[in-house]
Amino acid sequence: MNVETAFDLKDKLLEDFKKFDEQLNGQSTSVFHGKRKSASEEFKLLSFPTKKHEEWKYTNIKAITEKNFDQNTSDLLLDSLSNSLNEKIDLAAYLPEGLDADVLVFINGEWSSSHSNVSHADGITVKSLAVAIAEDTDLINEHFGKYAKYNDNTFAAMNSSFAKDGLFLHVAKSQAIAKPILCLYLNDTSKGNQLSINRNLILVDENAQVQIIEGHYNLNDDNFSLTNNLTEVLVGKNAKIDHYKLQLENDKAYQYNFCQFVQQQSSTVHTNTVTLSGELVRNDLHFLLEGEHCDSFLNGIYLSDGTQLFDNHSLVDHAVPNCMSDEFYKGIMGGSSKGVFNGKILVREDAQKTNAFQSNKNVLVSDNASINTKPQLEIFADDVRCTHGATTGQMDDEALFYMQARGIGKETARKILLRSFIGEVMERMNSKPIVDYVNELIEAKIETL
């Protein structure tokens, strides 16, 4: 007889879903929960990707799937009356200086109203998804789960089956949000290995404008954390979004992140992904350009050391003519860390006059660091302009010597070179407070490389 004793995260999560489903009694017939149930069915059919999976060839997630994770509610979520410790997190560490934002705090995937601070303005709805499910049911039922596909995506199916909280943002027609929206996702692992599921829905109507910043952090390092973050963004006609994702978890943290933008006619999206810490980070960033004359800018910075693995997968789907996409990612890898970049550009048959640019540049600062970078162009239209390039190099010794010959110490010279390498991406970011904040973090990270 062969007894299988190995722990299986998928089985454990299916068990969790069953319990979750049973607890819900009343809600269990809602449209929303129906969507969760379908996702759970899909999740059941899928398995966590191994290195045999083409899209996960260089990203081994065994360290994640071997572990048990629970969706614990943090004690920090108890409101101050019932919170015997009367403990509040000092958010100062997570707030970029000079950023006057509406702040939404999620701890272990649940909205913390006592830590959040949201102003109310006409035409703008900013709230926890959990609240929106009850209050904005029609909008949620119409849009939730419509844009991010979870078929053949185990993590997305997992996110969709447990989805219950996150950011809900609706900017009505022609509204421009004066204040940026800052979402802080904080993991508290004090009760055990933590699974934090965040699910965001962002609807930006015609002519509206918004700036969104997402920051990922760990509050402590008692245990491991697994963050599964999924964001759907519908960008209306002529709307503009300036989006930042700052991945700053600790070295006991794993993160899966899926962001799907759907752009309607003449809309513009700038998205900036900055990955500076976390033990394993996988990003799936997808764009669907379904209206003409859209602009999409995808900027990325990743600096890894130790045994970190940062994997950036992107897909820009040019479904209609006359759109422009520009992807620009740069990374520095030290220690025995690994980078993965896979940028897919899909230009469909109808998408004539597409301009698609992609560039990925890497510097390896240690002999044991590595990067697998692969552009993937699938072009079915004939009148298009696509350029792509990927480079990987070491520190430029000639440049180092040049600087030394001007009296600049070798270490300083190294830092200046690395900083200026990354600087080219920083220049593409619009928010001054975020640029300053990120620059400081990069500075500190470069010190360790």
């Binding site: 430029d396 010794d397 000639e398 440049a399 010597f401 040049y402 600087m403 030394q404 010959a405 001007r406 009296g407 600049i408 110490g409 070798k410 300083t412 010279a413 200046i416 070179l417 900083r419 200026s420 390498f421 600087g423 080219e424």
Partner: protein
């Protein structure tokens, strides 16, 4: 100021400098000429401290210090300046920031405070106007997309800002048009004093018309085989190097 004795250096086991002897005193200008591949740039690089070259023998005394014992950055801070034959581009680092960093690193080494931003700006603008470099260059990335001549002028700008004791100009004239050559030479001459010195590496007399050398040396196969005054350069211009090579053969 600098005394080079029997300096030998090789790269990848290949001997390139085969016993160089040269003394340069404060206030002097020395020209080094010689055919392609004779080792002129190698000598300059060895003096500046490039790691690729292994010093296999000899010594270099710079103002009482063992130059070969210093890191490249310390040689620069002590006052050795090399204007590169092929300056490197450094994208994302502006000229202004780069030079300011260099100036401050030198000041720090000598126990001085950082230069005041306003003083720095005033000084660099002054030097730029001396070298007829447009102010817009301040914000440009170092040598990125610069024309050959712009790169050379930028080297001299850095020299002017760092005020070295010994400057080594490696073919600073190459890539310069006639007007630019005069401007650069004029700049170099203005910086000249009885406290500093220059080694000018060149193939052409036209530079030496403007920067008049006190001594001219011929480098051949990694050795200085002939030295003379400025007339030696004129003679080389006229006759080339074959006669010196013949002389060397006869000696051997």
């Amino acid at each position: 100021m600098i005394k080079i004795e029997n300096l030998q250096a090789s790269v990848d086991g290949k001997e390139i400098l085969r016993g160089i002897n040269l003394e340069v005193k404060a206030g002097e200008v020395h020209a080094i000429m010689g055919p392609n591949g004779s080792g002129k740039s190698t000598l300059a690089s060895v003096l500046a401290g490039k790691e690729d070259y292994e010093v296999t023998g000899g010594s270099v005394n710079f103002d009482g210090k063992d130059l070969l014992d210093l890191e490249p950055e310390d040689r620069s801070r002590e006052g050795v300046f090399l204007a590169f034959q092929y300056p490197i581009a450094i994208p994302g680092v502006s000229i202004a920031n780069f030079i300011k960093t260099a100036v401050n690193e030198k000041r720090k080494y000598h126990g001085m405070e950082d230069v005041k931003a306003t003083d720095f700006l005033k000084m660099i603008k002054e030097k730029m106007s001396l070298l007829e470099i447009d102010n817009k260059f301040l914000g440009r990335s170092l040598n990125e997309g610069f024309s050959g001549g712009e790169k050379k002028r930028n080297e001299i700008l850095q020299m002017a800002m760092l005020e070295p004791k010994l400057s080594i100009l490696d073919e600073t004239d190459s890539g310069l048009d006639i007007d630019a050559l005069k401007i650069v030479a004029n700049g170099v001459n203005k910086l000249k004093s009885d406290k500093n010195a220059s080694i000018v590496i060149t193939h052409y007399q036209r530079l030496l018309d403007h920067i008049v050398p006190d001594f001219v040396h011929v480098l051949l196969d990694g050795k200085i085989v002939k030295s003379g005054d400025k007339n030696l350069a004129l003679e080389l211009e006229e006759k080339g190097y074959d006669w010196i090579k013949e002389e060397q053969k006869a000696l051997a």
